[in-house]
């Protein structure tokens, strides 16, 4: 086992995977993964490695099998064939241990709307059997700019705040591997930037992140490596630079640089975080 011990406090999460490991096994190791729903072959032999502490974006169109893949890695679904190891633990035979070293943020913010933001965090901390759930909750509220909103019911939160809370809940207990399934789908541009910032901070703290997305710019912005899932297989896996080199070299064109609509929108409405005043 190559479990890396992590600090319980979220604010001191800047730990580095143990350097004594000569060639550490990747945080996620997938070989020949297959999964069908009746006649529909969703995964047809997926191979993927995700290095510890890196962000890998799993890119694919709707229905490409991204969610199926994440659900298998998160022990929510059994594969038909192939092997998958997360944190050096086989997802099929050591599911309970895998669950202790991962967290999953699903496609839709899985938060409790009737509880307050703080109560949501305390609940998860208690379910992870941590000491001082209240302290952990307060640390995370501060880290995700939710301190003021922490006492309000989540039902009153904006989409971005809800997503931030969702991700904050995923970080409780500092799981070494985090799955984010389409973390910014349905969010407005500011909220997207907030989520991106949260993901960057996560990786800076040494956490391995596998995120799925259908937004190409999201993969460009966040990922160390990008894997494209198409027709049940990973068709390309590499850095953005490597992917670019697959196409003929860039030709030089002179183009007047116009601000994008996103630039205009963010300038007009301000790109700051909401700080919970909605």
């Amino acid at each position: 086992m190559t479990l890396t011990l992590r600090q319980p406090s979220m604010l001191t999460g800047m730990d580095i995977p143990s350097a004594t490991q000569p060639t550490p096994e990747p945080a996620i190791h997938v070989r020949g993964l297959e999964k069908s729903y009746k006649d529909l072959r969703v995964l047809r032999g997926v191979d993927l490695d995700v290095a510890r502490g890196s962000i890998v974006a799993l890119l694919g169109s709707n229905g490409a099998g991204k969610t199926t893949m994440v659900r298998i890695l998160a022990t929510l679904l059994r594969a038909d064939a192939g092997t998958a190891r997360v944190n050096s633990l086989d997802v099929a035979t050591r599911a309970a241990d895998v669950r202790a070293s991962i967290s999953l943020t699903g496609q839709f913010a899985a938060v409790d709307e009737i509880l307050t933001g703080r109560e949501n965090l305390v609940l998860i901390a208690r379910l992870r059997h941590l000491k001082d759930p209240g302290g952990i909750a307060d640390d995370l509220l501060a880290r995700f700019s939710l301190t003021e909103a922490g006492g309000r019911r989540v039902g009153t939160y904006s989409g971005g705040m809800r997503r931030r809370l969702d991700i904050a809940m995923s970080l409780i207990g500092n799981p070494p591997v985090v799955f984010l399934d389409e973390p910014t789908t349905g969010l407005d541009p500011q909220a997207r930037l907030e989520v991106w910032q949260a993901v960057r901070e996560l990786a800076a703290g040494g956490t391995t992140v596998l995120l799925t997305t259908q937004y190409l710019d999201e993969a460009e912005q966040l990922a160390d490596r990008i894997a494209i899932l198409h027709e049940g297989r990973i068709v390309v896996d590499g850095t953005l630079g490597e992917l670019r080199r697959l196409l003929p070299p860039a030709t030089v064109e002179y183009v007047e640089k116009q601000p994008t609509l996103e630039d205009v929108f963010l300038t007009l409405v301000g790109a700051g975080t909401e700080q919970g005043q909605r």
Binding site: A74, T75, L76, L77, R78, A96, R99, A100, I102, S103, L104, G106, Q107, F108, A109, A110, V111, D112, E113, I114, L115, E119, L123, I124, R126, L127, R128, H129, R153, M169
Partner: protein, 253 residues
């Protein structure tokens, strides 16, 4: 059983009890229909019903209590369904917790909510003239039967909660359960019913449970009714629990 089972169940129970505390309407709506039935039968139909009992509300209350439970447990299916649909069920399943704690928390929540509803209904019954000479032991026996009945029906409610594809589907299953007391000894003596209906009424669980509670209320010897009632409750509980376990395993695999 996982060593965290009790702690995890307690944490999740606290969560759903907060839900109820923040929407007490679920308890009010659970209690309103049985109370309406009670008023309707006592003040409208009751005069025309010959039960042989000294007061109709005394005769009626056991059946009303069962209707209260039957309508209350549909919220378990509803809450479980919402958990699954909202994704928080999946979040819990992907965490290192005792997995069955998720279901037990909902079941215990149902028990607490139904007991509160039952107290409200009994309170209204006392206001409109329900009287019993029962001692503490009698009350404990009635409470025991009602707790067992609630557990049995709640595990039954877990099944549609896990398998339903819509909110309506998750709670519609309770309608037949609410109607079952009408074809029993709950409102009228079964002796007044035509043959086949009477045969059904006398051999379905509600009649045995109603008769057992009624005998306890009126301080008559309970006799075989009690054992038949307990056997029904335990039987439903075991079958529903096993079916719910199957539905649960399907849901999480």
């Amino acid at each position: 059983m996982n060593r965290h089972f009790l702690g995890d169940t307690a944490a999740l129970l606290g969560r759903s009890l907060r839900h109820i505390g923040r929407s007490p309407d679920t308890i009010v709506t659970t209690a309103i229909m049985p109370i309406a039935f009670m008023l309707l039968f006592v003040y409208v139909f009751g005069g025309a019903i010959e039960t042989g009992a000294d007061s109709y509300v005394n005769y009626l209350l056991p059946g009303i209590l069962l209707i209260t439970i039957a309508s209350g447990i549909s919220y378990t299916a509803y809450r479980l369904f919402l958990d699954i649909q909202g994704g928080i069920f999946e979040r819990f399943q992907s965490m290192p917790i005792a997995r069955s704690a998720v279901l037990w928390a909902h079941v215990l929540t149902s028990l607490v909510a139904n007991l509160v509803s039952l107290v409200v209904v009994v309170g209204v019954a006392l206001l409109i003239g329900f009287r019993t000479g029962m001692n503490v032991l009698g009350w404990l026996a009635v409470a025991g039967i009602l707790v067992l009945f609630t557990l049995a029906l709640t595990w039954l409610a877990v099944i549609p909660g896990l398998t339903a594809t819509s909110v309506d589907g998750a709670s519609a299953f309770s309608y037949p359960l609410i109607l079952l007391p009408f074809v029993s000894s709950a409102f009228v003596p079964t002796g007044s019913m035509p043959g086949p209906v009477r045969a059904f009424a006398e051999h379905q669980p509600v009649t045995a449970i109603v008769d057992a509670i009624r005998h306890l209320f009126t301080r008559q010897p309970v006799g075989a009714d009690l054992w038949v009632a307990l056997a029904w409750c335990a039987g439903i509980l075991v079958v529903a629990y096993l079916l719910a376990a199957v539905a649960y395993r399907r849901r999480i695999s």
